[in-house]
């Protein structure tokens, strides 16, 4: 892991700009945006993952699954920073949930994320989500183009605001630390109690997404294993149907063995489904409503889990598994004579 910058007022990419965030309220707002952003990527990833037929696209499915697991870690990390600065992560409310097709929250609106089957379009969408921040892109909390810009703005904001006053006043007990409740992924939650630990937590989020220092790696290297690829390059392996080698770079692209992809071995989910488009009283509407009830319950469990009731994260695990099996059933139900199938709609059912 790279050392977080703690002294100089600069992002890790070297920006020296007018910081877009200068007060605590704006900082909290930007972190809440980040929390929503991390969550907003998960339903599209899950649609692609669950649309893959059993036993097919094994490697691609493993890639998507690994990214989803880390997105959940990212939610926990961002929530820890929010809790550290005395804010409350807000998850259990309708506007936390994107209405797909959606733009990323508070972004420049140029990346459209959709709920769609595993397909070239879906993989292209994932690449746009995880795209590394260009060296020249300024930090932005509003109207950002890449996720890196948003996090760069938050990193700067943390430095500015924490220099003005003590902001790490939150109750530590509200944070998730250690690997007890969050497991099955590279790295674990970081307890945040000062600027350095806050920047460290956020650096994990950014590095796992887009890579460190403009390499393809995310900085994690489990003992005895090759270094982990950042999300962007993991998806790039699928897009180019070829593995990266450890020595590859963003410029070389993947030069390793082929990664076979079969876009036909997928349930033909209709893009961006909505419960309201299904006939009231129909069986498939019932299945969809039932899915959304569990999804909403999951968001409530996550909210409580990240707001001082960590045991709720354990309960949420059961909801996540239940959602998977319900989504898989929906994906096999044909909607009409087109052969398109239903799919999970990920809507708030309040």
């Amino acid at each position: 892991m790279t050392e977080p910058a703690t002294t100089a007022l600069r992002t890790r990419r070297g920006h020296r700009r007018v910081p877009p965030i200068t007060d605590l309220e704006a900082l909290r707002g930007a972190l809440q945006t980040a929390l929503q952003l991390e969550h907003a990527t998960i339903p599209p990833y899950l649609c692609a993952l669950y649309s893959i037929r059993p036993g097919r696209n094994v490697e691609a499915a493993a890639v998507i699954e690994s990214v989803v697991m880390e997105e959940m870690l990212h939610m926990v990390l961002v929530a820890n920073v929010l809790n550290a600065i005395g804010a409350e992560p807000a998850i259990d409310r309708p506007d936390f949930v994107p209405r797909y097709p959606a733009t990323l929250p508070h972004s420049d609106g140029r990346v459209i994320v959709r709920l769609q089957r595993f397909s070239p379009a879906a993989v292209d969408c994932f690449l746009r989500i995880e795209r590394p921040e260009p060296v020249t892109a300024p930090p932005r909390a509003e109207g950002y183009h890449t996720i890196g810009q948003l996090y760069a703005a938050i990193e700067l904001g943390l430095q500015v605001v924490s220099a003005q006053r003590q902001i790490f006043t939150g109750d530590r007990e509200r944070q998730i630390a250690g690997n007890d409740r969050v497991y099955g992924m590279a790295g674990g939650p970081v307890l945040v109690d000062d600027l350095a630990s806050a920047l460290h937590a956020l650096s994990i989020v950014v590095d796992q997404g887009e890579g460190i220092d403009h390499t393809i790696h995310d900085g994690d290297a489990p003992l005895g294993e090759p270094p982990m690829l950042a999300h962007y390059y993991r998806f790039d392996e699928i897009a180019r149907e070829r593995h990266y080698r450890p020595s590859d770079t963003p410029r070389t692209g993947p030069t390793g063995p082929p990664l076979p992809v079969e876009y036909d071995s997928v349930w033909p989910m209709r893009t961006d489904p909505r419960a309201s488009e299904l006939p009231p009283g129909s069986d498939v509407r019932g299945m969809t409503d039932s899915f959304n009830a569990v999804y909403t319950e999951l968001l409530r469990q996550l909210h409580r889990g990240l707001n001082g009731e960590p045991d709720q994260l354990g309960t949420a695990v059961g909801s996540m598994w239940a959602l998977r099996w319900q989504a898989e059933a929906l994906l096999r139900v044909p909607l009409d004579s087109t052969g398109d199938t239903a799919g999970p709609t990920f809507e708030w059912a309040g």
């Binding site: 250690g178 007890d180 099955g184 005895g224």
Partner: protein, 603 residues
């Protein structure tokens, strides 16, 4: 194959061989493991192929997920047939069974051994279990006591990764080192455990006219749970995930299929220890069947002859010899005995193959009047553990009682509920669905593990030349087995306990022995004119027992052969009595202890 030399040659890549291989290789010794069966589960994908095999198997018996090789056959419970006193032996499958009661247990011969399909219970023996002769005048004492094994239990609990709470075990008389905690917190007890605990825990139960206390106690499990931060003096414990996919299986996912297979590898199997052993430098040769322990003129072992085979239907084999400084037979109770008998080795006591013991498993089943949430979670998360020791052990076997989370699954539910309702009762549609919704979640199954005493006539021998052989021409094991009065009386006492508990619960007792209700209870017998039927528990013990006296035991307390001092024979076969716990943890502890003895020996 080319002959090989190494420091330590180990026969068998099950849990005992795996632990020895890992510990000896980690200490820098050159270790070769000879595994008779196939290499399965080397990768995540390879392991999953076994899972799909079991899901598609019509009969989901323990071995259904795993390879069965004609060159290294495994016994299968599907091969068991009823035996008659004067009738011919049962020769289906691998065992040749002469009865009078069929032996009811299987084991698995492939990489990982029987831990591929064990339940996961990782229970220490009670201090009294080591002293049956002294305390109750039955059986024999062990040459070591509980306190001798205590540090090795701790080592085994690390090797397996056991999830349990010390306080639960202290309640039933298990002693621990000061401040000890298990690697992981206990696996959360099921809803059924709590339901039953609320009604039965603390209730008196009468055995032979005396009142005892019913205690519903969580069972230590070799399955990943929440790590205990206080473990190892506060250094904590990191759960070990699946081989080839370490981020998976870090917690039990509740697949409810511990037997025949844990799809997530959250439940321990020796595949994990073998993986670590390989990383430490041990070499594991698969499809390599040990055929003879070679003896030198001075009585030491000078090599192990093997046949390395290929081809599953019509295997062909090449011969070779492995030479080492020390030899370990860790091939399983029956296979160790078979190999020693084939070699004419280690048997000056005439005890090799004798004293075969199992825990005859007595099922009791009933319907209660509310849903229990059956078929969720690990097979069993609690037991009734307070009756494992008591003065009645002078008269009859004691028992530990499994509370089964899977309803009548062992009898074939819920598949049989469907066929009974459709073919038997003619149900269909909503009525069928409602019947299943109503009945299956109310199924309550408790099973009693009954002790057997060592009996020299319960034994493994070799099929005579020219009779029954496997595909390599090696003799098949002949099993002579009976269930003696001590255990039959225990079955009657167990049954009486179940009846009392079902009364307290207001449960509708459906238990019926000898009615043909289930094809799994092959071991029918009578006691005081009443019929009983048990099945095997897979706990094969006693065939090369340890002792203090070379004339009545095969190995000493370090599992070293009395006859050949560079030979160790390890596993549950070394256990002089079977005790009241599922034997895997104990045999793992014995293996850790023997690894230390070998290291000291070679130092």
């Amino acid at each position: 194959m080319a002959d090989l030399s190494c420091d330590v040659a180990i026969v068998g890549a099950g849990i005992s061989g795996a632990i020895l291989a890992r510990r000896l290789a980690a200490a820098g010794l050159d270790v070769v493991v000879l595994e008779a069966g196939e290499a399965t589960g080397l990768t995540w994908e390879g392991y999953q192929a076994n899972i799909r095999k079991f899901l598609a198997a019509p009969a989901k018996v323990p071995n259904s997920a795993w390879p069965n090789s004609p060159a290294a056959p495994s016994p299968n419970v599907l091969d068991i047939v009823a035996l008659t006193p004067e009738g011919p032996p049962g020769t289906n499958g691998y065992f040749v069974q002469t009865g009078p009661i069929p032996f009811g247990s299987d084991y698995q011969r492939s990489r990982g051994g029987t831990t591929l399909h064990w339940y996961g219970h990782s229970i220490r023996m009670l201090p009294a279990d080591f002293e049956m002769h002294t305390r109750y005048g039955v059986g024999v004492d062990w040459p070591i006591g509980y306190d001798d094994l205590l540090p090795w239990y701790e080592a085994a609990e690390w090797e397996i990764g056991v999830a349990a709470d010390v306080a639960d075990q202290e309640r039933i008389g298990v002693r621990f080192s000061p401040g000890y905690v298990y690697p992981m917190h206990r696996v959360p007890p099921s809803f059924l455990d709590r339901w039953l605990g609320a009604r039965l825990d603390g209730q008196p139960v009468t055995i032979g006219g005396t009142d005892y206390t019913t205690g519903v106690v969580p069972v230590p499990g070799g399955r990943n749970s929440m790590p205990n931060a206080a473990y190892d003096g506060g250094r904590g414990y990191v759960p070990v995930g699946a081989v080839g996919r370490p981020e998976t299986g870090l917690r039990c996912e509740g697949n409810a299929s511990c037997i025949p297979a844990c799809p997530a590898q959250a439940k321990y199997s020796a595949l994990k220890t073998l993986d670590a052993a390989t990383r430490a430098g041990a070499r594991i040769l698969h499809q390599t069947v040990a055929t003879k322990v070679g003896l030198a003129a001075d009585g030491t072992v000078n090599g192990i002859d093997v046949l390395q085979w290929t081809g599953n239907t019509f295997p062909s084999a090449v011969a070779g010899t492995i030479r080492a400084e020390r030899y370990v037979l860790a091939a399983h109770s029956v296979e160790n005995a078979k190999l020693l008998l084939m070699s004419g080795a280690a048997n000056s006591s005439d005890q090799v193959g004798r004293n075969l013991m199992d825990h005859p498993f007595l099922l009791n089943w009933a319907l209660v009047d509310e849903p229990l949430g059956t078929f969720r979670g690990p097979g069993s998360t609690s037991g009734i553990e307070t009756l494992r020791d008591g003065p009645y052990r002078a008269e009859h076997s004691s028992f530990r009682v499994d509370i089964d989370n899977w309803g009548f699954g062992i009898l074939g539910s819920p598949i049989t509920d469907v066929s009974d309702a459709v073919f038997g009762d003619g149900l269909h549609g909503r009525a069928l669905r409602d019947r299943l919704t109503d009945v299956v979640p109310r199924q309550l199954m408790i099973g009693f593990l009954l002790e057997q005493l060592p009996d020299p006539e319960n034994r493994v021998t070799l099929s005579p030349p020219g009779t029954w052989t496997d595909a390599l021409g090696l003799p098949r094991p002949v099993i002579r087995y009976d269930i003696a009065a001590y255990t039959r009386a225990g079955a009657a006492a167990a049954r009486a306990c179940a009846e009392q508990w079902f009364d307290v619960l207001g449960a509708e007792d459906l238990t019926e022995y000898g009615s043909g209700r289930s094809p799994v209870m092959h071991q029918a017998f009578e006691w005081n004119g009443r019929p009983y039927a048990t099945l095997g528990a897979g706990h094969l013990c006693g065939t090369h027992r340890m002792g203090r006296d070379p004339s009545t035991s095969v190995v000493d307390s370090e599992q070293r052969s009395w006859d050949h001092r560079n030979l160790f024979v390890t596993g549950a076969g070394s256990m002089p009595t079977i005790g009241t716990s599922n034997p895997t943890l104990t045999l793992a502890a014995l293996s850790c202890r023997t690894a230390a003895a070998i290291l000291e020996d070679l130092a």
